[in-house]
Amino acid sequence: MRRFERPWSGQELKSGVPYGPAACLVSETGREVPKGFEHAELMTGEFRGEARKLLLHPYPKRGAGQKPLREDFPIRPPLNREPKTQDEEFAAETLRRMNEVLARIQELEDALDDPISLWPRLRAAWKRAEDEADPRMAEIVKQSREIGPVLKDLEHRIRRVLRRTRELTPLDRVQELDRASMLWLSRQPGRTVAERAGPAQRILSTVRHENFDTLENRMFHAYVRLASLVAREWQREHRRAAGSDRYRLVDVFRLRCRALARDLAEMKVGVAEPGITPNYVLIQDKGYRTVRLAWERLIRRERILDDLWAWQAQTWTDFSVLAIVLAIDEMEETQPIAQSPVVWRQEAVTGRWFDQDRPLAVFWLEQTGRIVEVQARPEQPGALLTLARAHVSLRITDPSRSNLPRRVAVWTPHAMERLNIEKAAKGAVATLAEITRIASNEIMRDGLILTPAHGEAGHATSSQGTARVDVIALDASGDTLGKGMEALRDFIRRDIWRGNE
């Protein structure tokens, strides 16, 4: 296995040197992947009859991992801890960025509601995401709105049960005796009941006490605790939105949840574990059922969070592809010709939320006279893409001529730390310049790198011979999203279409 810090890099990591937080966890193998390595296959290509597989490895869950060796990675911040150290702050920031990327991708699902105007609707949503003072919809915001009134209702009619216990009770208060109480009584010394009751004049009898520790209340307790933590996390991630209605709404909701959690704890209500089997009340009572469903949604999100954290690079690739498609679709002359249906998954698997067949999208630039195909994770990448280790690309053809089609390699490197974009441009262009010399049925001169900006938008260009590479650093929200998309639009409008001759 050949491990690389960057997909375009020609230099592999020496064996024994672990991947660090600045590295992209990619590697290349032959047909057989060595056993025991956590990986996802990005692309399987061939060069001169030799199979080459491009693999992606997940970020380690506990900071470090074996097979492949990974060290010094940030740990996903747990929900119930405020970040204190610098490392924790960094991890929390990474999580925030990841959530933003997820939010942009999930907006695609809503945009699919009207597939005819899919891209304009998605573009509008992304445009709004550039304004961080106006936070986007999130599960916790939705729940703040929907569950708030339910909490108020449940608070007043929280279910209670009467539990029977045996206690020493004054004789005149005894209402009920069970078998055990009678046995006890019979064993007391004395002939009459009064004698047996002893000097305190108390005998053992059944008494009923109000008790709140029922399954539904335990679930309720678990929900309010989880919801307040999730709300806290959301607020932390959207500090810039502190003035917005949604922020206030979530804040109010969080405080109410916290207060309720305190009350429930005082009532000695336990906390339910995830995966309980709902009882009659949880299924039939409207209030409890609503809360249970909301709880399950939050749990599901928490559960897949580990998975999403590990596979952030995959999510980033999907985000990058959507950004490219949006940029192409935005051109006036663009006409969509074909687009594979987006099949949404119930739950993300290895960081991917939706399935799409190939080709992803095909556009016709009517005036320019070009047809451009957007491809991601291609099934049969040509020799050039295999060598470039780029699993996203644009294929440009001229329908009126039979010239060789052109290929634009797109790398979507994701690392925990920000990439040095100038260095990346230089490295990539060197690889590309080498590849241009290889004879093929395609021409590949241009390259594009889309990488997370970590709050600092940037654009770098580097060329070597006929090869040229653009690096765009962008984020999934805020100003850096706007600037990144602008740079991407510029790249698309640049002279990548012409100049075959």
Partner: protein
């Protein structure tokens, strides 16, 4: 009140669309309460996306844009079997409902109530309706309701106000709907619905829409457009031209644009489609719309636009008297949303009729046609109709299966269904058959219930045997002959009793001897007449004598008869001492006996029933003779009537077996008139009497069991009056 998500689907396979009242906004909450039209595609299709486990059918605009099934140039996803037209899915029921469901989910998902437009023509079979329901179930489209396009057009026109002055109770609205094969014509009447708190107008549908075939139906338009596009192909390798989206746009009058097509080898070719469709030139007959002549307003509904629409409108208008109100292409989808609003609010959407279903029952008149769905019944959409009066069958003891004949208005041939009972009943059991159906919601449920068995069966129309005969033939074939009527009992006569035997003289000898005597031996004569050697009397119960009897003897018999009658008269008037011998002699001659005897006996009987005595009644046994004798000789209708009256007037519990029972038995079993004099009540009473006598005789020596069987047979002869009586 919470606003519910409502959806009106117009999935027709030509140009799909949906109207709904919510919008999902990416990154925001859903917006409810705004009407939004989502257009599907022209000539919509569904495609199979994904591979292996993630394989899924996708419809709507995504399918239109998908490269799937568009030819080999698109790689492995270009395979033809990955793409199917919605049209073929609607018409072909062999694919799982999930495939057709994709056509719905591609347009809208998550509604709580959905209304789906269906073509108002006989081609919308009940099976098709069920297919759509199954697809909607798979699409999770909430509570579904199918509504005819014609009805939806009217609902939309009402909402728009295009009906103006005709929007009132009783107005007749004609609808010309553009469909695949041509046009569908329907007339609906507006009704003011007062059942709910708010009065609103609902269309009432009373018949299936009539199909008017024409070349400018959608099929014709599409094939014209197809031919026009294909003619642009430079060579014969032009399969990719068939997948051009321009065909649909051209056919439906939408603006066409140049379109790159991918050839089988992956190369591109730019198609520059013609601007306009050259419509097939046809002339509509002047009287094709005669159905709509007396309508107050006529609506025209079509999915076409632009020049195509104008041209079709011009052709229709040319042959139509009166003004035409054209509705926009989205009117059906919008009408469906209005219907969904009504449906969700519990208001009547429209009134519909049900195709009639009939069966055959056996009644007193034989096999009869029996309507399970009443004529002229219309009922609100979505409500269940149940036959008001179930047809009732009888299941015989031990019967394990039985046949039910069924006829539907929508099917030409009647059917015969076999119903298995499972456990045969221990006694005759009534079985009720009824029909439950919701208008435009698939097949009727034909149910049978036997309350006594606590069982319910459902009759499967589709599995029933199709009969190659008309309903009338079936009916007449079932007209079973009425049950047999026991013949009149005739006791035969024979010559044996006339001749001498070793044991004594025959009647001939006796007649000869007594005729000359002044005081004939009536007793011996009577005994001879009542004798029955070899089961044959001298005189039959009809009064016949054997042919061999010489005329002389007959004359002697006649003469003796007159003399006996004289004696009898004397006795009646009290001039002579009473004796029963003459009476026996006379009455054993059966119907040969002079009618006057009957009068005399009836008088005697009348006297008896009034508690008086009579000269004939010399002893208790004489009464037996009077009654039985009367029974033997009765011939005159008048007598019979009197006798029956007297008999029935006499309380039946006081009947004696040899007297009244015998008389009744004789009367009913030997005469053709007496049974006719009875009515149902009398028969029941007599029946009870028979049962009683039977019961009394059981376990005895059966000495008294002589006349009851004859009475029973006599009762069966009541079938002379009522052919199917028990």
């Amino acid at each position: 009140m919470t606003v519910r998500k409502l959806c009106g689907y117009d999935v027709n396979g030509w140009r799909d669309g949906v109207a709904r009242n919510w919008v999902a906004r990416p990154g925001d909450e859903e917006e409810l309460g705004v009407v939004r039209i989502v257009e599907g595609a022209v000539l919509p299709e569904v495609v199979l996306a994904g591979e292996g486990k993630s394989e899924r059918w996708i419809g709507g605009a995504q399918a239109d844009l998908a490269p799937h099934g568009r030819g080999g140039g698109w790689g492995k996803f270009g395979a033809q079997e990955r793409r199917r037209t919605v049209r073929s899915l609607i018409n072909d029921g062999s694919l799982p409902p999930g495939t057709l469901a994709a056509a719905f989910t591609g347009l809208a998902q998550g509604a709580s109530h959905s209304v789906i437009a269906i073509e108002d023509a006989s081609s919308t079979t009940e099976q098709l309706q069920e297919r759509i329901f199954a697809a909607l179930g798979a699409a999770r489209a909430g509570k579904p309701l199918l509504v005819w396009r014609s009805v939806l057009s009217v609902l939309h026109a009402l909402e728009l106000g295009s009906l103006r002055t005709y929007a009132h109770d009783g107005a007749r609205i004609g609808i010309i709907g553009h469909v695949g094969a041509g046009f569908s014509l329907q007339t609906l009447r507006l009704r003011a619905e007062t059942r709910t708190s708010m009065v609103h107008l609902v269309p009432e549908r009373r018949q299936v829409g009539m199909l008017l075939e024409s070349e400018i139906g959608y099929t014709g338009l599409v094939s014209a457009a197809m031919a026009q596009i294909r003619s642009l192909a430079p060579d014969n390798r032009s399969d990719h031209y068939g997948t051009a989206r321009s065909i649909g746009r051209l056919a439906f009058g939408l603006q066409t644009k140049p379109e790159p097509l991918r050839k089988a080898n992956g190369d591109w070719e730019i198609l520059c489609p013609p601007k306009e469709l050259s419509l097939p030139l046809i002339e509509l007959d002047a009287d094709v719309f005669s159905e709509l002549r007396d309508c107050d307003a006529i609506l025209f509904e079509s999915l076409t636009e632009g020049q195509v629409r104008l041209e079709i409108l011009r052709q229709v208008q040319a042959v139509l008297q009166g003004p035409l109100t054209p509705l926009p292409p989205t009117s059906v989808a919008k009408g469906a949303l209005i219907a969904a609003e009504r449906y969700a609010a519990g208001k009547t959407v429209y009134l519909d009729f049900l195709p009639r279903i009939a069966t055959i029952v056996q009644g007193s008149e034989g096999a009869m046609h029996y309507d399970l769905i009443g004529e002229a019944e219309t009922l609100p959409a979505g409500s269940l109709y149940r036959s008001p009066k179930p047809a009732r069958f009888a299941l015989q003891t031990g019967q394990a299966m039985f046949h039910v004949f069924l006829k539907k208005e929508t099917h030409l041939q009647p059917r015969k269904a076999l119903v298995e009972v499972g456990s045969p009943p221990q006694q005759a059991t009534p079985v009720d058959l009824w029909v439950e159906q919701v208008p435009a919601a698939g097949r009727a449920k034909i149910l049978m219930q036997a309350p006594a068995l606590a069982r319910q069966f459902s009759v499967d129309w589709d599995a029933a045997e199709i009969l190659d005969a008309t309903w009338e033939d079936v009916l007449s074939g079932l007209a079973t002959p009425p049950p047999t009527i026991p013949k009149r009992l005739v006791l035969p006569c024979g010559i044996h009793a006339w001749h001498d035997t070793p044991r004594g003289p025959g009647l001939l000898t006796l007649l000869d001897a007594n005729a000359r005597l002044a005081g004939p031996d009536w007793d011996t004569l009577a005994t001879k007449l009542s004798a029955r050697p070899f089961g044959q009397y001298c005189i039959s119960s009809d009064g016949e004598v054997p042919g061999e009897v010489p005329n002389d003897s007959l004359a002697q018999l006649q003469e003796l008869t007159w003399r006996a009658l004289d004696d009898l008269r004397g006795m009646a008037s009290g001039k002579r001492t009473a004796d029963t011998a003459q009476l026996r002699f006379l009455t054993w001659q059966f119907r040969r006996c002079p009618t006057e005897v009957g009068d005399l006996l009836l008088d005697a009987w009348t006297a008896r029933s009034q508690g008086q005595s009579h000269p004939f009644a010399t002893s208790g046994n004489a009464w037996i003779l009077i009654r039985q004798g009367l029974g033997r000789i009765m011939t005159v209708a008048e007598h019979e009537k009197r006798a029956v009256e007297i008999l029935l007037r006499f309380p039946m519990r006081m009947w004696a077996w040899r007297e009244e029972t015998a008389a009744a038995a004789f009367l009913l079993s030997r005469s053709d008139q007496s049974p006719r004099l009875l009515d149902r009540k009398d028969v029941d009473r007599l029946g009870e009497r028979v049962v009683e006598e039977f019961r009394e005789s059981v376990g005895t020596g059966y000495t008294r069991f002589q006349y009851a069987p004859f009475l029973l047979v006599g009762l069966l002869r009541w079938r002379l009056k009522s052919p199917r009586a028990l």
